[in-house]
Symmetry: C2
Subunit: 157 residues, 2 copies
């Protein structure tokens, strides 16, 4: 199973980029993983929130291939404890034949088109974090999940 994180907008904070890259490198010791960045809309300020969501949806859907299992990082999604998330990832490894694709939306959330192509929604926190921070949170949790699955001494209960 390959795992991909699809995100809208480049991370601009160089410290966060470096911290994210560190975890991406660690994840790759366990399984194939990449982050696909959809460039921010150039004319976003001229668009309404609904128009931005639609335009982002088109770009997100271009990054989804037939057979991908799509999971949205969404504030209305299921919250996991880290051990539960690890068990969920382990189960996905058994049933996902191609790609497990996580998608982080823009500041206004997802359009209905994106919800329609997703099989699940998960939430990292009830709190809202910047899209750059969400990436860091996600890669830390995915790394943590692999260490839990592998029985490595990173996570303490």
């Amino acid at each position: 199973m390959k795992t991909t994180l699809v995100v809208v907008g480049r991370t601009v904070d160089k410290h966060l980029i470096a911290a994210i890259d560190d975890y991406v490198g660690r994840i790759k010791h366990f399984a194939p993983f990449d982050i696909e960045v959809i460039p921010e809309l150039k004319n976003a300020r001229k668009l309404s929130e609904a128009q931005q969501k639609e335009a982002e949806a088109e770009l997100i859907l271009k990054n989804i291939a037939p057979g991908d299992v799509v999971v949205l990082l969404d504030e209305g999604g299921k919250e996991f404890r880290s051990t539960e998330f690890a068990a969920w990832i382990e189960k996905k490894q058994q049933i996902v034949s191609k790609r497990l694709v996580f998608v982080v939306g823009g500041p206004y959330g997802f359009s209905q088109k994106v919800y329609d192509c997703a099989s699940e929604k998960i939430s990292l926190s009830r709190m809202t974090f910047s899209h750059q921070m969400i990436r860091l949170l996600f890669v830390e949790q995915l790394y943590r999940a692999y260490t839990i699955i592998g029985g490595l001494p990173y996570h303490h209960e």
Copy 2:
């Protein structure tokens, strides 16, 4: 009201340090804030988990002064949405006369002594994050809370 974050163990990841410092600087535009770092126990490996928690408790309690309102960042704590956290901070600003002190524990959680001196427990996520990441999450949320309180365009609902 002054807000302090008490943490156990230095942050060693220079990228996370820089990202945390960035938010600390932004928070200080709104209200006094600092992070008090309790050094990691030198002989931690020779101590049991319970002994580590007790030794950490002594050091944490040294950083608490009479009149401080102590809030633990604890996995069993109340979860907030960002807007709820902002409203909670705003209320605290009205009722806390001295310091609002948030405490992040070590990897094994808090000893009973620390629970006993706390008035509340909050949780940033059901997931467990590294103690370094928790600091970054916290400062981003505190900054976000102040922008929500101040009506600034950082947070989108």
